[in-house]
Point group: C2
Chain length 426, copies 2
Amino acid sequence: MEHKVIGMLGCGNVGSGVYNLLKDMAEDIAHREKLSIHVKKILVRDITKQREGIPAELLTTSAQDILEDEEITLVIECMGGEEPATTLMAEALKRGKTVVTANKMAIALNWHILHNAAIEGGSGLQFEASVCGAVPVIRVLNNSMQANRVTQVMGIVNGTTNYILSKMTDEMLPYSEVLAEAQALGLAEPDPASDVGGFDAAYKLSILSSLAFHARVPYDKVYREGIENVQVQDIAAGKDLGYRLKLLAIGKREGDVVDVRVHPVFVPDNHPLASVGGAFNAVFLTGNACGDMMLYGRGAGSMPTAGAILSDVIYALTQPEPKHPSFENKNTLHPSLSVTDNWQCGFYLRFSAMNRPGVLGHITTKLGQHGVSISSILQRKAEGEGDVPVIVITHRAYEKDVQAALKEIDPAIARVGSALRVEGIE
Amino acid sequence: MEHKVIGMLGCGNVGSGVYNLLKDMAEDIAHREKLSIHVKKILVRDITKQREGIPAELLTTSAQDILEDEEITLVIECMGGEEPATTLMAEALKRGKTVVTANKMAIALNWHILHNAAIEGGSGLQFEASVCGAVPVIRVLNNSMQANRVTQVMGIVNGTTNYILSKMTDEMLPYSEVLAEAQALGLAEPDPASDVGGFDAAYKLSILSSLAFHARVPYDKVYREGIENVQVQDIAAGKDLGYRLKLLAIGKREGDVVDVRVHPVFVPDNHPLASVGGAFNAVFLTGNACGDMMLYGRGAGSMPTAGAILSDVIYALTQPEPKHPSFENKNTLHPSLSVTDNWQCGFYLRFSAMNRPGVLGHITTKLGQHGVSISSILQRKAEGEGDVPVIVITHRAYEKDVQAALKEIDPAIARVGSALRVEGIE
């Protein structure tokens, strides 16, 4: 039996979960892994706050109590946020302590600092819980995809937005109403911008695509659109045509050109990502050997996240040498890669068209002139005297060609109501 | 750069795939893993056969050329079948060579021999490709679920039966017709018994449940029913009620009691397993920390299997110490476990009932007397003068209670046409 002494930075929802799960699983872990793990100190902001199941004598408000304690060989960081988490983790790594973190922001933004600190200290750094909670996508990318060139990752990596879009789809409710309800249920933050604006997903995509492509793809290269402007009429029209709207984090690689983007996107009903509902997360991967693959599970919550963190802790403590999942030691785009903003995908285009002959001809001619070919058209019956909604689904086309075509469509003939992207099609 | 010399046992579809993938990926593997892998010898039965991309000078018909070559530190086994694969792998392991295999039969039936040989030789043994091809379920169970007590694994682990059932469901064709077509397409063997009888799935379930429950569950403890008697009218009726029929490999644990079984089973349309179509595989897992999780991907085929094998090779060669995923060193049921044949699940029951009052009363009374409660009933319109089909879906009930109730239903009133199980319900 090996005895290991660890420290924790932070003891909120996730931190308490880690402590309590470790207690619950102690006997199993001792039996299976011949490992006994003892939490010596936990850094908190407010030492007087009651925390279910956490002995008060473990709590400290001084990070030095953990960083300077040589008995502590591993530190779990679950404070969240960029700072002071990054500085504390870097300090622990430089002192030779292995760090396990769920902090996507610190990993995505400050990888160079943490990686350098780990090299300096000869320490391990694990961050499975930083992307998709319980879904073991980071270990799979590192330990199961070594014989693949990954060409594509597409993930539902944010539970809040997936909950909102699922609910809008199932109940045909407008965005603002569903958001308010999610906030009341605690499923969305009082300031929801990080989730609904796609920032959280962009952090995770930076990590996922860096690992999948074995080359650093920094956060600031990720194109980002949130779900704030999604209209329920488009969800309804997509549904009629056999598509579901999801906020996807998409990374694709063709040769040394990648596109990395977070935006709402329609996927066909029969695509494995389409049925990932509510607060679940999933990552759909494509590799040259494995073909299509998907990992599905709980993306957040105290226990799923704690389980992923503890799995990292056990993994790190049972490795003979400290290591960490690696992308190149830079905070800038890997020199072998270039990022394109002219990606290819399908498009869903909704127009408000004049109710007169020649309108469809005008739209299809303009699209055709830019090489955009059409997969299906749905012209709905006019309600009363007003404009007619026309919905066009295109085949795969270049982003810039579609944008150029849309600019040339005469708004007096057909006004562009929505332009959404479509993935998972040929 | 580390140079490693390996040998291969077998060079069929999978073996050729491994060799060609290794060649294709050599540069990537060298760059990413600092590893250069050289295949020195390949054991084949017929040395004169042409094999695409395989240099003839590597081929040998003598296993000793590989086993006795001390330069070869790792052996890939892709002959399949119990023997001579088991004997050759054991011999290699005893000589200190790491073995990577896709052989579910050898692992499920002869674990004790291989495990003992690995202990004797201080060798590693990896078998990711033995279950679900490219789906990394074995590494996930071992390296990502350490902080979980797994209570359930449910897998679509056989592509042939999933193809047949998917096709029967989509096109409402009878079993025999779809089987013949699958055989013509090479998707089913000329003698299909191993697949359609559930034997292949039972081998895989023995491996999966032994790993998931950290305790040996031998193959002969797995209850097994194939798909040979599945009737398209039941698939149709289930579809109307919102269920899809799958051949599942199911392992559940409650305390120290497990049930392990392979049989056709209905799952609700919205269950993640329901939409796993065609030749794809998936494993649905439940753990105390992670909650529900699913891994989905290609379960067979030259490249997906080769990718899993090569991932094991790289994993084994980059581990500082040889190891292998472990279940207890026995070929009998782990002493802490007992296997029950009185599991709980839902049931789909189809009766041919007389077209007269009191029939439903008779059926529901008999079920009720055995504690079986009913979730829904569908009585179809009689066609002509004959009997009326009545379909009953029960809530979760004990297998033996349902069987006892069915025996007491008077066949003169209602004859039991089909009794199928239902999973994924409350």
